[in-house]
């Protein structure tokens, strides 16, 4: 047997360093007393105080969460329906359906943003949290559909038909057989939709109205017009939060297995 090359190991280490170096610098800068970043001017916690004192952030965060929950909920329903149809039927309608579901995944955000903006404006729909919600559902449902469809691939449809044959109504069969089986897939798809909605900046930027500042929009506005040091502090909190969430969900998965 040949000795394995060390090269892949080095590349992996380099990637991890590349991933974390900027994040570490942001951590350090969040304690830097210098108002605009740059050279070290001493330790401070004032950016964290400022962050917690800024009520606009919390307003933006609540907007973001409302949209994330709303779009996750609707996109789970629509996405699961789409996945079921794509799995169950192999007709010409489903070819079109398949393309329709896939395209939002491959289309760059900026195109989706501008097309939805034109759409809402030409219908004279006022830009607001509601237009953001509609837009988020549109791109989230495709992700849900894809994840649930992946789960469907191993599903044996005859169990479903067996339930029907044994006298279950269609709805009971869905509830007792399909939903429990698809549960993990729906949960995974929903989680993906939720995070995508939380994270989206570009599409939201196009379809947002004056009172619909979401957290990413607020971060962008702070980056451009506000104090970068406060964003450092916010970034640190968000990174820590992300670590905790990913860690917990990982633990939960392990328990299930």
């Amino acid at each position: 047997m040949k000795k394995r090359s060390r090269f892949p190991f080095y590349v992996t280490v380099a990637i991890l360093v590349f991933f974390y170096l900027p994040i570490i610098i942001v951590f350090m800068q969040s304690f830097n007393a210098s108002r605009f970043g740059g050279a070290w001017k001493g330790f401070t916690l004032q950016w964290y105080y400022r962050l917690f004192a800024d009520k606009n952030i919390w307003h933006a965060l609540s907007n973001t969460l409302v949209i994330a929950f709303g779009s996750t909920f609707v996109s789970i329903i629509l996405g699961t329906m789409a996945a079921f149809a794509l799995y169950r039927y192999k007709t010409k309608l489903q070819i079109t359906h398949n393309i329709l579901i896939y395209l939002p995944l491959v289309i760059p955000d900026i195109l989706m943003g501008i097309s939805l903006l034109l759409f809402f404006v030409s219908l004279r729909i006022e830009l607001s949290l509601f237009t953001i919600l509609l837009s988020h559902i549109t791109f989230c449902m495709s992700y849900v559909a894809m994840v649930v469809l992946a789960r469907f691939q191993d599903f044996d449809y005859s169990t479903f038909e067996a339930a029907l044959d044994l006298g279950a109504t269609w709805w009971i069969a869905v509830k007792r057989v399909l939903v429990p089986y698809l549960g993990p897939g729906i949960a995974a798809g929903g989680l993906l939709a939720f995070t995508l909605s939380l994270d989206d900046f570009v599409i939201t930027f196009f379809v947002a109205g004056p009172d619909s500042t979401t957290l990413p929009l607020y971060i962008y506005s702070m980056m451009r017009h506000g104090s970068p040091s406060v964003i450092n502090a916010l970034s640190v909190l968000m990174v820590i939060f992300t670590f905790i969430v990913v860690f917990i969900s990982k633990k939960l998965m392990e328990v299930k297995e």
């Binding site: 409302v66 903006l117 809402f120 404006v121 607001s128 949290l129």
Partner: protein, 342 residues
Amino acid sequence: MKKLLTFFAAALMAFVSCSKKSNELHIYNWADYMNPAVIEKFEKEYNCKVVINYFDSNEALYAKLKAGATGYDVLFPTSYMSRLMYEQKMIREIDHSKLKNIKNIDMAFVKKGLDPQMRYSVPYMMTFTGIAYNKKKVKNFKPSWSIFERDDLAGRMTLLNDMREVIGAALKYNGYNYNSTNDAELEKAFETVIKWKKNIAKFDVDEAKRGLSSGEFYLIQVYNGDALQLIAENPDLAFATPQEGTALSQDDFVIPVTAKNVELAYKFIDFMLEPENCKANMEFVYYLAPNIAAQKLMSEDFLKDPAVNPPKSILDKSEFLQDLGSNNSKFSALWDKIKSTK
């Protein structure tokens, strides 16, 4: 599962119900352009919430509204843009009877402007453009637009991300008018901007200010009051007005046609015209408000500061930006060419 559904349904309901709040005022402003303490005072006095969004050029403001943004109650365009928006029927006529403090406005100043009767706009602040720089890093500073040709500062300078300001400065540098639409003159200005572009890091408005303060940039094209705000925090910085002359601007309060809370908008404008509040704003933003009653409250030093109140020698060489009508597209075409030329 059922609980989850109920939860989602409740969240949606909450979403629908809370998205409409009656006592909110939406203003769309330049960044760092109003004292937050004054806004807080207004919120307390009128028991309302002021929501602020920011823009960084008049063109961006206009495009945002044209693209369908509605719901702003007060905007702060520069007078040439107010005029265009008025002609485009995007803003309302001002009802003077609702503004008891409008008597504080310096009418001598307003008469020289684009809206001498204040039919659709009320002036907020007077601004002009200049150069802010770091005294420690920029040796042999000369107050001239030609400073952007200096390649020892390459990569450490910025120009505003604003076609009227940048092309205008180049026109002025070549001895022409800021509002020129003459093709030959514009061509000359184009060549000048391209020379400058080689030395600048980027076209930017607000990030450039932070960058100057943090040592990222050494010299930036900037509005006077913004520069003074930076200098107040960092004594290494200085501001100068180019000897060739510069662009003067008057920024206005205007109320868009689509405003939802017009009454509150009037109250807001009137509140900001009160001498005390206007003074607090001037002290925060370092711009001069054409408000006689408020100016009386200001220190002599402030009023005499050439970076606040430009001396006659500079005023004589400078111009107010005008709306160019259909010739605007000449500027946008040129701006495009500038952005894509190496």
